[in-house]
Amino acid sequence: MIWITSGGAFASPFAVSGSLGHRMNVFKDAGHLFRFAGLFVVAFVVFWAIRGYVVPKSFGRYGHYRAAAMDEIAAHPARFAGHQACETCHSDVADLKNKGKHEGVNCEACHGPLAAHAADPTVTPAKLDTAVLCVRCHGASAARPRNFPQVAADEHSSGVPCQTCHQPHSPAIGDPNAVASSAPAAGGAK
């Protein structure tokens, strides 16, 4: 502001009155500025047009990311149906299992991913091999928690299959529930 008040020689062209004592036309000889401003506006519009085209619509809705990605990830098909789905049909097996030691073991932990079977019951689940399945959890190892039931399989049964004595859905030997049940346990006692 100093240079406006200090003398006419340095007066701003936009000053309404100068020390010369006559009114100046603010827009006189400013055409080149308007042309530049026009160019700037065109560039700005082009920039926004391109940006609108290349930036996904949902980008920035919640943060610096594409919000639609959440829905796309959530659309991934589930392979495990979840025990709730199993129990809608196999409630008898679930009731039996939930009375025994395997109460907390969900169906697909042993039976494998069966969303396809839950969606279409004609898809038959694979037969299970108790020789592999039981030992996964119950094979003796010093690394397992001491209080967890575990056996050295070859010493414990000398090759006799686990389900000869233990019904997988109700593993305690001589469990009356297991005997009374007609549940077709996988590889169940024959």
Partner: protein
């Protein structure tokens, strides 16, 4: 058009705001699942883990995880020295096929399942140059495979080693906390298939979730608390040798 400079200057910011609304698109139909009602995490109960590897197999089956890569894996610790400085840690094929039988020995054994810690202040999202990885409003760290460049900054940034570059898609990949399941009311594949309940999905925004009582009554630790990542995977009775 009769538009003087004053009106032009007034209209420009208004037009910018309007254009922004156009870019944002029309909002989606609201689903039953409300993201802001949840804040997901996981509880790992170390004394319950028997090292069966069910979680690793379930995760691979659920999420098409390629062989040799892991969204979750299980480590077995064997600590023999009283200073806990040099534990012997094994994780054969991520524990997918279980673990070799351990003989009775001096020291202690325990299993530590690992997965993405779903950090609230995650280092991996901070380094992403393109906004391809982010924390969702419900507290899950996700990767947008369409936006990811595969630069692997995030793979280096994760202090827990939870990320990898997918060998076929060439983009970063990691545990999504089974986002496709938890938004449907199911639990994660690893929790669904854990036979002992050693892994439990928790919702920290749900006042009825048993996690709140559990955190108040148990010796719970997160991994690398000194890094202030805001990790939301809580380990019950975590040994000091786990770094």
């Amino acid at each position: 058009m009769n538009l003087n400079r004053r009106h032009f200057l007034i209209l420009m910011p208004a037009a910018a705001v309007a254009w922004k609304a156009v870019l944002a698109g029309t909002p989606e139909a609201a689903p039953n699942y409300k993201r802001t009602d949840h804040w997901w995490g996981m509880l790992i109960d170390i004394p319950k883990c028997i090292g069966c590897g069910n979680c690793v197999r379930a995760c691979a089956a659920e999420n098409d995880v390629p062989d040799g890569y892991f969204r979750t894996w299980v480590e077995r610790y064997h600590v023999t020295d009283e200073h806990m400085t040099s534990p012997e840690v094994i994780s054969p094929d991520g524990g997918k096929g279980g673990f070799p039988v351990a003989k009775e020995d001096q020291g202690k054994y325990f299993f530590v399942p690992k997965l993405c810690n779903q950090c609230a202040d995650s280092p991996c999202t901070q380094v992403c140059p393109v906004g391809a990885t982010f924390v969702t409003p419900d507290g899950v760290v996700l990767v947008d495979p369409k936006y990811c460049l595969g630069c692997a900054y995030c793979v280096q940034a994760c202090p827990y080693g939870c990320r990898y570059i997918h060998p076929d898609k060439k983009v970063a990949d990691k545990c999504s906390l089974c986002y496709h399941r938890i938004t449907q009311g199911l639990t994660t594949a690893c929790c669904e298939n854990c036979p002992t309940g050693a892994r439990q999905l928790v919702d920290l925004k749900n006042p009825n979730d048993p996690i709140h009582a559990f955190l108040k009554t148990h010796s719970v630790q997160i991994l690398k608390p000194q890094m202030a990542t805001g990790a939301k995977v809580y380990y019950n009775e975590l040994d000091g040798s786990v770094r």
